[in-house]
């Protein structure tokens, strides 16, 4: 089968550019903190302090991702997103909310949001999710690949086979899905909650390090017999799958 392997970057990242973000948040201190934090991580961020300003900016500006607080003066976050979607503005939206309950989440996504993050959150979580949304935007339009390759690691979604340097690595179905998600987001930090959401389809707080155990098992299988690890832990954030810079040649 002819398969397209989209991985020009040896580190496995498909998208490494800096993001242009719009933060719509009425708490000026929080907004300033976010703008500063995003700038420090190499992105460009504008901000609006009420729903109407935010709506106008979001319609005009070419942003990669919108970060929208749910409770905003003049036009609330959900209505804003709904209006944008009605105007065919397809920019990915991440909704921030102090309401983190199950039904709120569903409402947020129903209004046209692409992701939902309850407050308070760690900036690393927000950054990882924003990057995932921005990359999804870049990658949209092309069909999902049937095969992922990062360095010497290859995953075939059709035959459910994983090989590293040509050697087959047997995986459990859940481990396969975990690796699939990591490879789709290769070069990019994925958090534990992102893994729980996308691999297990749960949005609750597991309260323990359940995900770590799964990742470390997968890591054990992938790295066994190879000199360089391919799944890296990012302290305080999550994991990233990439070829170690020293080994990538």
């Amino acid at each position: 089968m002819l398969s397209e392997v989209r991985s020009p970057d040896p580190r496995g990242a498909l998208w490494t550019g800096s993001m242009r973000l719009l933060i719509i948040e009425d708490d000026r201190e929080a907004a300033a903190y976010l703008v500063k934090a995003f700038r420090e991580t190499g992105h460009v961020a504008d901000c609006a302090h009420d729903g109407l300003d935010g709506y106008a900016l979001a319609r005009e500006g070419a942003y990669d991702v919108l970060i929208v607080d749910r409770m905003l003066p003049k036009l609330d976050g959900l209505s804003l997103v709904r209006s944008l979607r009605e105007q065919k503005v397809a920019t990915p939206v991440l909704i921030l909310s102090a309401l983190g309950q199950v039904d709120d989440r569903v409402k947020g996504l129903r209004a046209g949001g692409d992701d939902y993050l309850p407050k308070p959150y760690a900036f690393s979580e927000l950054l990882a999710r924003t990057e995932a949304l921005a990359r999804r935007q870049v990658g949209s339009g092309t069909a999902e690949e049937t095969r992922y390759r990062v360095g010497d690691l290859e995953l075939d979604r059709l035959s459910h086979r994983v090989t590293r340097s040509g050697r087959e690595i047997p995986l459990q179905p859940r481990e396969f899905r975990l690796l699939e998600y990591l490879m789709r987001h290769a070069g990019q930090v994925v958090t534990r909650t992102m893994l729980l959401e996308h691999v297990w389809d749960y949005h609750f707080d597991p309260q323990t390090n359940v995900i770590d155990v799964h990742v470390s098992r997968l890591r054990g299988k992938l790295d066994k017999g190879f000199p360089s690890p391919i799944i890296h832990t990012v302290r305080g954030a999550g994991y990233v799958l990439r070829v170690d810079e020293g080994a990538a040649g």
């Binding site: 983190g100 199950v102 039904d103 760690a122 297990w200 949005h203 597991p206 309260q207």
Partner: protein, 490 residues
């Protein structure tokens, strides 16, 4: 303003406003409607009586006239006009006499006790009702029924009877009608007034109580008179509503008390860590470690906070709308699969025994969270006290028309006496257990189970704790499945 009996209520309104309010009551409006109906009834009844009485009296008058005429005609036949005139003259003078009049063809008075009668009446033979006068002076003062005959020679004979008696009767009936209508109106207004003010008084009392409740007296309840009328029923269902609201309020208050209580310890710890790092001269690495520890404590706090908030929201019954049929066995397997690796690492075996097709109407996320909490608790507290590998069993089955789910461990369990205690103090973190989790974790499970209209039981696993959840089966699906089976067998 007159002193109305209602003034005694020392209500703040003015008398006029009070009046308006009274007129607007349903009781008063109903009274007015009944008043109109009764008045109409009285009118119809008396009208019927009057009409019949008049007919009877008219008949009587006519038959009297007939008798007179018979007598006179005998006299006329026996003695001619002369005899008739003398008889009429005699009879006219008798007390209580009928009316007689004989005139010439030109209308001139010959004999009789009628002074005046319209000429048109005399001109037309036959019976009619007319006005007449006893003599010329009181021309048309009286009324009578008369019959006129033409005698040979152009003479006219008029025989009639005064209708005064009949008219008196009519007047009596008219007065009776007036009096009774007045009585009905008076009684109706008074009755309506009394009924309305009685209702109004009770409604006012209710309003006062509800205002007091709104002002903060949450223990206030509406007075129930005990006679079981509609106001009583309203009052008692409002009281039930207030009871439920009070319950929820108390629940919320408990939750906030518990939040304060449960967050104080970790907050103090967090503050102490930051304080300690500041007090001592530290290397950047030490400071970094301290900051990371502070963030960890912060995350822990957020976790507890979220769980408590979630419990409160679930207790309030929100999120009930996002339920769908859920295969409980599949949910159990999925959560077990999530925890299996962790369990193995911690020296536990985690087994799932789930029947297929145990479907409940549920929220997958919440059931998942509850299951995760139960398995997590089992991992934390379910290791055998004497050492050795721990066992956790998750089972799902159908029994007695209900879906059942159990998570059992091999730990020390909870002594029977303490189980109800744990259940009773669900929201509070269990202080006896040093690690946080069980209290909030089990409370959350309980809240989820209650939201799904189920029950939670703590049992002895001999040894260990067995937490059993009983949920109602998804009715529609079960019924559909049965229907499908029936269709297939046909």
């Amino acid at each position: 303003m007159n002193r109305l009996p209602i003034d005694a209520l020392n209500s703040p309104e003015t008398g006029a406003a009070r009046f308006q309010k009274l007129f607007r009551t349903t009781a008063f409006k109903l009274s007015l409607a009944y008043l109109a109906i009764f008045t109409l009834c009285a009118f119809l009844a008396l009208g019927y009586v009057a009409w019949n009485a008049r007919a009877v009296l008219d008949d009587q008058i006519v038959s009297t006239i007939d008798a007179e005429i018979n007598g006179l005609s005998e006299q006329y036949n026996a003695g001619g006009l002369r005899r008739l005139i003398s008889v009429v003259e005699r009879r006219s003078r008798e007390p209580g006499a009928s009316l007689y009049l004989v005139t010439t063809a030109g209308g001139d008075h010959v004999v009789g006790n009628v002074g005046y009668v319209p000429a048109a009446i005399l001109a037309t033979p036959g019976q009619s009702e007319t006005r007449y006068g006893r003599n010329d002076s009181d021309a048309e003062a009286h009324r009578a029924i008369v019959r006129v005959f033409t005698l040979p020679g152009g003479f006219r004979l008029l025989v009639g009877r005064d209708t005064e008696e009949r008219d008196r009767l009519r007047a009596v009936i008219g007065r009776a009608f007036g009096t009774s209508v007045a009585a009905i109106v008076l009684l109706g207004v008074i009755g309506g007034w009394l009924a309305a003010s009685r209702v109004l008084r009770r409604v006012d009392a209710m309003t006062q109580t509800t205002r007091a409740i709104m002002a903060g007296d949450l223990d206030g309840r509406l007075h129930v008179a005990g006679n079981g009328d509609e106001l009583d029923r309203l009052a008692s269902s409002l009281n039930q509503m207030l009871e439920r609201i009070g319950e929820l309020m108390r629940g919320m208050r408990d939750v906030s008390d518990n939040i304060a209580h449960d967050l104080k310890t970790p907050l103090t710890r967090l503050r102490n860590r930051a304080d300690e790092a500041l007090r001592r001269p530290s290397t950047p690495d030490e400071l970094r470690a301290a900051l990371e520890a502070v963030i960890d404590e912060g995350d822990g706090l957020i976790r507890i906070f979220n769980a408590l908030l979630m419990i409160a929201r679930l207790e309030a019954g929100s999120a009930r709308e996002i339920m769908a049929p859920l295969d409980l066995g599949a949910a159990a397997r999925s959560v077990a699969e999530l925890y299996e690796a962790l369990a193995e690492d911690q020296g536990f075996t985690l087994d799932v025994a789930a029947q297929d097709g145990v479907v409940v109407e549920a929220n997958r996320e919440l059931i998942g969270q509850a299951l995760a909490n139960l398995v997590d608790n089992a991992l934390k507290y379910g290791a055998p006290p004497e050492g050795g590998p721990g066992r956790i069993a998750v089972s799902v089955w159908r029994e007695g028309g209900r879906a059942r789910l159990a998570v059992s461990d091999s730990g020390p369990g909870i002594p029977e006496g303490e189980r109800t205690h744990v259940l009773a103090r669900f929201v509070r973190l269990e202080q006896s257990r040093s690690r946080p989790g069980l209290g909030v974790g089990l409370s959350l499970v309980n809240a989820v189970v209650r939201l799904h209209r189920g029950t939670l039981h703590l049992r002895d696993n001999g040894p260990g704790l067995r937490v059993e959840v009983v949920l109602p089966l998804a009715q529609d699906d079960a019924a559909d499945a049965v229907d499908l089976e029936r269709l297939k067998t046909r």
